[in-house]
């Protein structure tokens, strides 16, 4: 893009030939800049996606291979209450995690936006800091903290309390999800709140609105795209997660991510695993469309 504006600005008198040359160099420029990204998308996104799509209509053979024989049974199997329940409970857990992340993340982002510039940077770095550590290590840290003989219980034990059973239930799954993805909520919210012109809030106050009214009628609607983006960023990885249910949920409940992982790696049923993946993708595409729609409205 930069290339095209530069050549457009310098080439004032244009012969047909130089225009053709310009077009060609522009095309080469585009290719150079877009090429790596395109190659990445094609090789690592489109091709695997096409594979997954094609597997959904085939059948598993006895030893886990794929029999190339068209069938619709994977889709009817999707409607089995067993799998529907898992999908619904994943939706539920991911939604709860997203709402909690929003309730915690919004005030956090709001406060950071009010800080003096220097402190803003420090606060933002602090928010991102956990991402510098491996995800699995951070999840295991929760086990070290909360397990039966863990740190929290031994500290409480010194005070004569407990021991409590914190771990291995749906509550700890939600805790893990909120903890892991909270930064992804705070950052887009911060960006939206930061952009907000403080004069708008002042105007609202001058016109007699109480702070609560200002928040509901001015701040919130104007930061809604940030809210939607943040919710999406938390919901999407939560919905498909399989590590947290396994580690912090003790494998006692499963989410759709576990189901997909098990189809590919344990049951070796790639066709059904692909169909589940497609169902998950369908949910996410609907959500992305909603986000695009809300962004356009804003």
């Amino acid at each position: 893009m930069t290339g095209s504006t530069v050549s457009g600005a310098t080439a004032v008198p244009r012969s047909r030939r130089s225009r053709a040359l310009g077009r060609r160099s522009r095309a080469i420029g585009r290719l150079v800049f877009l090429g790596p990204g395109l190659a990445y998308l094609i090789v690592l996104l489109l091709v695997p996606l096409a594979l997954i799509l094609s597997y959904t209509v085939f059948r598993r053979d006895r030893f886990g291979g794929v029999v190339y024989e068209a069938t619709g049974e994977n889709f009817t199997r999707l409607l089995d209450p067993l799998y529907l329940d898992v999908i619904v409970s994943s939706l539920k857990l991911a939604t709860i995690a997203t709402v909690i992340a929003l309730l915690v993340g919004y005030p956090t982002a709001y406060l950071i936006a009010q800080l003096p510039r220097k402190w803003k940077t420090i606060a933002l770095v602090a928010i991102v800091l956990p991402f510098w550590t491996n995800f699995l290590v951070r999840v295991y840290a929760w086990i070290v903290l909360l397990s039966g003989p863990g740190l929290v219980n031994s500290a409480l034990g010194d005070l004569g309390l407990g021991p409590f059973e914190f771990l291995y239930n749906q509550g700890t799954i939600v805790t893990g999800l909120v903890y892991s993805y909270l930064p992804l909520m705070v950052l887009p919210l911060y960006a939206a709140i930061e952009k907000l012109d403080p004069q708008l809030r002042e105007a609202s106050a001058n016109l007699g609105a109480r702070p609560a009214r200002t928040f509901v009628s001015v701040t919130l609607p104007l930061t809604l795209p940030g809210v939607v983006t943040g919710c999406l960023f938390v919901f999407v990885p939560s919905f498909g997660n399989f590590v947290i249910p396994e580690l912090l949920g003790g494998g006692r409940s499963i989410m759709v991510g576990n189901l997909i992982r098990d189809q590919f790696l344990k049951a070796r049923d790639w066709p059904f695993g692909s169909t589940l993946t497609l169902a998950l993708l369908a949910v996410l595409i609907v959500l992305l469309l909603l986000q695009a729609w809300s962004a356009r409205r804003a």
């Binding site: 067993l82 898992v86 409970s89 003989p149 003790g250 590919f264 049951a267």
Partner: protein, 377 residues
């Protein structure tokens, strides 16, 4: 040390990486093709020359990571004068997918669990073992010839074997467990301090045995009863765990866990292992020779070499699973033996366990059972 068990029974947790690997594995590899010596006999066993020049043959084997010594190719080259190429598979399903794909894999020998050897043989893919080319078969325990998936070692030679039981803390339990019901319905001091495995067949095992069924049941009615029992046990569980139960036991987070014998650190203070009185399973990992192999003499010589007490003893001392080789077990360091229940298990004790066999299309019943049990709140 016994990491191979993890990769074998339980495919790695990293789905993305695993998927990429699996895809690339499906691409298939061809070993350097030696000049074809004519098509192998398809129906019966091939005519093999006991005096074949092994230096003219080369071998390609597929085995679980860590399941044979790293130096094996050099050792084989030295001993048999045969080039050996080792490829690895993560689990039975992966090697089965490769071997049953219909394309020539170039493999001569594969390591698979007993029930899979049975299935490969049913598919007509295995060369019968020629006992006259494997004199070291004499080193095996007599019981190792009585394995139900392959009585008489017709198409497979056992490499390691073991069973599943309860691994527990004798200091944190008032009475030692003796029955699968102790795990399924634990005493007060063990409530919420029990783990069970989630991998299908082993998830079902305690309930199956407590109910007196066969580990190879295909009956929907029995599987429904098993499900009921497993769901009733779920509230008393700390977690489902196939991989970290040892650490949980050592830390005291768990006091009683379902464990493979080779995984129970019974050498540690306060930790013991018991095979419940209702009985358990018997798993065997075997070596098989592919019918498509063009190096069958070398393949037999290789298996014979593995059955050498020193070589086979490596497996016992390093993978810490029992090996069905009498001479090899006699060589194992007594101190190590005393610390591992898997190395103390006698063949007759093991044979009381029921062999897990391949259930074919019915295996999906166990997949479904595992999902149902895990999904239930």
């Amino acid at each position: 040390m016994s990491r191979s068990r993890y990769t074998r029974r339980l495919p790695a947790a990293a789905v993305a990486a695993g998927l990429v690997l699996a895809l690339s594995a499906c691409g298939g590899e061809t070993a350097d093709s030696t000049t074809s010596a004519g098509p192998a006999a398809s129906a019966s066993s091939a005519q093999l020359d006991p005096n074949a020049d092994l230096s003219k043959q080369s071998l390609a084997i597929s085995v679980w990571d860590g399941y044979t010594p790293k130096e094996l190719p050099q050792q084989v080259k030295e001993k048999l004068k045969t080039e050996l190429k080792v490829t690895l598979h993560a689990n039975n399903e992966e090697i089965m997918a490769k071997l049953t794909s219909g394309t020539d894999t170039g493999l001569d020998v594969a390591f698979v669990s007993g029930q899979y050897a049975q299935a490969l043989n049913e598919a007509g893919l295995l060369e019968p073992i020629h006992p006259e080319l494997v004199p070291n078969l004499a080193n095996l325990f007599p019981e190792a010839k009585e394995l139900s998936y392959d009585k008489g070692n017709v198409f497979s030679v056992p490499y390691t074997w073991g069973t599943t039981g309860i691994c527990y803390r004798n200091d944190l339990l008032k009475t030692a467990p003796t029955s699968w019901n102790d795990l399924l319905n634990p005493p007060a001091e063990a409530k919420k301090k029990v783990t069970m495995m989630i991998t299908e067949r082993w998830l079902a095992l305690p309930a199956i045995k407590a109910l007196g069924y066969s580990v190879n049941t295909r009956s929907d009615e029995e599987i429904a009863k098993v499900k009921e029992k497993l769901l009733a046990a779920k509230p008393n569980l700390l977690a489902y765990d196939d991989t970290t139960f040892r650490d949980r036991l050592k830390k005291g987070e768990a006091v009683m866990v379902e464990a493979w014998d080779g995984w129970c650190p019974a050498g540690e203070k306060n930790i013991d292992f018991v095979v419940p009185k209702e009985g358990s399973d018997l798993w065997v990992d075997t070596m098989v020779i592919l019918k498509s192999s063009k190096n069958k003499e070398a393949a037999h010589a290789f298996i014979n070499y593995i059955l050498d007490p020193k070589v086979h003893g490596w497996a016992a001392e390093n993978i810490l699973y029992g090996v069905p080789n009498k001479a090899a077990m006699e060589l194992v360091d007594p101190e190590l033996k005393a610390s591992m229940p898997s190395l103390q298990m006698t063949p007759s004790q093991l044979l009381q366990g029921e062999s897990i066999i391949d259930l074919g299309e019915d295996s999906v019943k166990f997949t479904r059972l595992a999902t149902e049990v895990a999904a239930q709140q």
